[in-house]
Amino acid sequence: MKPVILLARRASLLPVVLASVALFTLMIMTFADVLLRSALNAPIEQATELTRIFMVIIVFGVMPVMTARGDHISVDLTDGIFYRLRLNNVRDGLVYIVCGVMMFWPVQRVWVLAERWRSYGDVTEYLAFPQFYVGWFIAAFTALTAIVMLVIGLLHLFAPRFLERTQ
């Protein structure tokens, strides 16, 4: 189990670095766009499109890791009761598995939409960047997020000690 977790951590670094680079570039680009527009009257025409693409990379690129860290916004009002009854792992396991399973449908649908965009030849306005790549990226990382949820759910149920270490 340990080497698997280690490997997963190593692999998870790549999309996180990618998202960080996208964010940093977004910041620099917005800054440059404003200055170029104000000083040289020459805004970056592709800025809007690039902003959208960067946001997809930022938001979905880190989503599997964010999910693994347990960063999803949730309400812990009833935690006390569940801990007292020692049902917290069962509850979290079931919730995570249900969420992971139900994500199958949106993942599949985003994939279908992306294929549809491909068949219609949808592209972005200035860069003519094919929209279906964006769809594929979102589908792939949402699928990864679903897998992460399933794994965490199973760990909660059958091997909660591994979770304590990753936190």
Partner: protein, 315 residues
Amino acid sequence: ADHTLVISSWAPPTHNINAKMWPKFVEMIEEATDGQVTAELKLGLAPPPAQMDLIMDGAADVSIIFHGYQAGRFVTTKLIELPGFPGNAEAASVAYWRAFDAHLSNANEHRGVKVVALHTHGPAQLHTADPMENLDDIAGLKLRIPGGVGGDVGSALGATGIQVPAPKVYETLASKAADGVVMPVDSRKGFKLTEVAPHLYEMPGGFYRGSFAFIMNEDAFAGLPEDLRTVLDEEVFGEPLSREIGKIWDAGDLESLEVTKETEGNTITIASEADQEKFAGIAADVIETVLNEIEATGVDAEAAYEMVMSEMSSY
């Protein structure tokens, strides 16, 4: 009513699309079917580019799309966006439907949905913060122009394009992120351009027109009884609806023109004869490029262009 269609729409609630066009649509289908079919309006279900997917899968039954929001998907719809056609939105919308029926529909770009109306707003004109005297003044300006033909014309005139959705135009102009906007006259009132872009520079025939379609879910239509389908197809969908929507765009243009004349500090400059000629030359290149693009989809572009031109000239 026995059948209630769900309309998905996206402009602000007060925009003519929602305040007048959809009510007109409902009125027409109710009248044609003796009240057996009606529709209810839902706003904000999804952003504009999502509407076609929503209709295709039945998340709503009817919607409005702006073809320019989906670059790459629609090519033949650029025909009606070309500058230089004579006449108002009503004439253009009717001619548009006829050209679609005869030629453009061959490209099958709306596959997956039923097209129930095609229309365009009135000729788009230039609205700026500073007064415009000549066509040459446009070069170097930062202008909000939508994609498609508008964008092509803008770059041919040497303007820099700024991409913002229509509801953000006011903020963009107020914050001077753009020097002006090319939009139909109709939007002077709706988007309060009279405050942030007091100067209207008018090019007869417009810099471009915007192409819209009303689309319907195929199953929702097939699910109606045959007699209702027939009456809707004959009395509402297609040319009749397109014409009525064109009229609403025109009425909006007139209303905005009145508001502009009444607003202090607003000016209207009509392009000089010389500038009109100059623009026609610039537009000719854009027209040729676009017609070639349309030709490449297998549609007889030249014939379609001639058809719109003659229909509109004689409207």
